[in-house]
């Protein structure tokens, strides 16, 4: 017995959203859905939408669904897709633009811990000028509260301990590097937003 495919009705699209994104991403509207991007994507297997599907959703103006998608955060920025795209669409820029958009709109999908990591990283730069792994991990753990789960704590402590023994991570550094100059840079950049 064959089942007829369920056809989803798409509500009126947000063309302002499509235009806003397309203005910032080279060649976005040239996509002809060849799916070369998704074929080579090393993390496509965990995404809720493949990169080519996400591009189509942006073009259809499905703003909410795009910004909630796990795809935009799971993208590892490896640039394989953009290197192979026959239409030279800057897909990694697309992901960056959508990530910033989702943060600004306050929409975070299931994997907010990835955005927490990136935010912790940038915060370390602002505070210290250079990033050391121990401080970064502490700041990240405090943001996500992941250390509150026992299994996660055990896994983290195991890896961190191994790395510590090998001298791959050191005790958190208290040293600051050109932070006065950097504070000015951050202030300027964020005044432009």
């Amino acid at each position: 017995m064959s089942q007829s495919p369920t056809i989803e009705k798409i509500s009126l699209s947000d063309s302002a959203f499509s235009r806003k994104i397309a203005e910032q991403v080279r060649n976005l509207n040239r996509c002809y859905q060849c799916s070369m991007c998704s074929d080579g994507c090393p993390v496509a297997y965990v995404m809720d939408y493949y990169p080519n599907q996400l591009i189509h959703m942006v073009r259809l103006g499905l703003k909410e669904r795009v910004l909630q998608s796990t795809t935009i955060w799971l993208c590892a920025s490896c640039e394989t897709c953009a290197t192979r795209c026959p239409n030279e669409i800057d897909i990694v820029r697309l992901m960056d633009v959508l990530r910033v958009e989702s943060l600004e709109e306050g929409i975070e999908g299931d994997i907010s811990k990835i955005s927490s990591f990136h935010r912790a990283f940038v915060e370390q730069i602002r505070k210290k000028g250079r990033v050391d792994e121990a401080s970064l991990m502490i700041s990240y753990e405090l943001k996500t509260g992941e250390f509150l789960s026992f299994s996660k704590l055990r896994e983290l402590a195991g890896l961190a301990l191994q790395m510590f023994i090998k001298g791959k991570i050191k005790l958190p550094s208290l040293k600051r590097h050109s932070t006065r100059a950097l504070k000015k840079v951050f202030r300027k950049v964020y005044s432009h937003v």
Partner: protein, 285 residues
């Protein structure tokens, strides 16, 4: 030849052995590395996710500091070299953006200098013949695969490094040291680097697969040029694998070894997979 040297944050922690071996071979090859005074983090794989302007201003500031030294910049970390190359590329092509970044950093940018990865310096500026001349202990019998990862080669219009699908710069260097370089299909696959802390399950899968494929190809060891790639491949060897663990070297460690350095034992103590047995068997250690 002299360069403005950008060690990057991992040089002082995760990849001390990379930093030390790069400095050692540079000295032997007559490359002078003058550290950029007051350098700060380039934003790596997080800056551009949070704020595009910040992701250009951070490397932009380092570029301005390097320009004051009137030298080209060299970085051993592919992520660092890509961030600085990206700033050069984007700001050269957009005058308005450039003046905005100049305003952010409070310095002018000429952009007349170039950022290079240390492999590019070895291959283009030093040259294969000059490298060959320094070999004291050829790496005979050592079968390696070269692993370039993402940021050395992609995006090609920015990195201008080599063929983005099949780069050979590191292969040529390894051959000049006497190693046997095995062809394989995973040279430019991603190890999952930027997700290392937030989603280690993904990194375990991607890195484990790369290591597995290296063993399948018949390699004794993997050669890398990135602190994060080296750490991921070395630390996340495939579980439940029939094959024995595959050591993961920095190209600079093996280059130093072939040049007669005695520091390899010290460096490899920092590796998770101990390469001593392999090297002793080949009488290289």
């Amino acid at each position: 030849m002299k360069f403005a040297y950008y060690p990057g944050c991992t040089a002082k922690s995760t990849s001390v052995e990379y930093e030390e071996s790069v400095r050692e071979i540079s000295k032997i090859l007559g490359i002078e590395l003058e550290e950029i005074p007051g350098w700060t983090c380039c934003g790596a794989s997080s800056g551009h996710v949070i704020n595009r302007e910040l992701a250009l201003a951070l490397p932009g500031r380092n570029l301005a500091l390097a320009e004051k030294m009137s030298l080209d910049m060299v970085a051993p970390c592919p992520a660092c070299s890509l961030r600085h190359k990206t700033a050069e590329y984007e700001l050269k092509n957009d005058a308005a953006l450039k003046s905005r970044i100049e305003d952010d950093i409070g310095m002018k940018l000429e952009l007349s200098r170039k950022t290079k990865h240390i492999l590019e310096v070895l291959y283009h500026d030093v040259g294969i013949d000059a490298i060959k001349e320094k070999v004291r202990k050829p790496l005979e019998g050592l079968k390696v695969v070269t692993y370039y990862g993402c940021y050395l080669v992609r995006p090609p219009e920015v990195t201008a490094f080599d063929d983005p699908e099949n780069p050979t710069i590191m292969d040529e260097i390894m051959k000049s040291l006497g190693a046997e370089v095995i062809d394989w299909s995973y040279k430019v696959e991603c190890c999952g680097g930027s997700l290392s802390i937030a989603v280690p399950e993904i990194v375990e899968k991607l890195s484990g697969r790369i290591v597995h494929e290296a063993a399948e190809a018949g390699a004794d060891a993997i050669v890398t040029a990135c602190g994060i790639c080296q750490l991921n491949l070395d630390m996340r060897q495939p579980r439940n694998s029939d094959s024995s663990p595959v050591p993961v070297f920095y190209f600079s460690e093996l280059t130093a070894l072939a040049f007669g350095s005695s520091n390899l034992r010290k460096w490899s103590a920092k590796h998770f997979v101990d390469p001593s047995d392999l090297l002793e068997k080949l009488q290289l250690l």
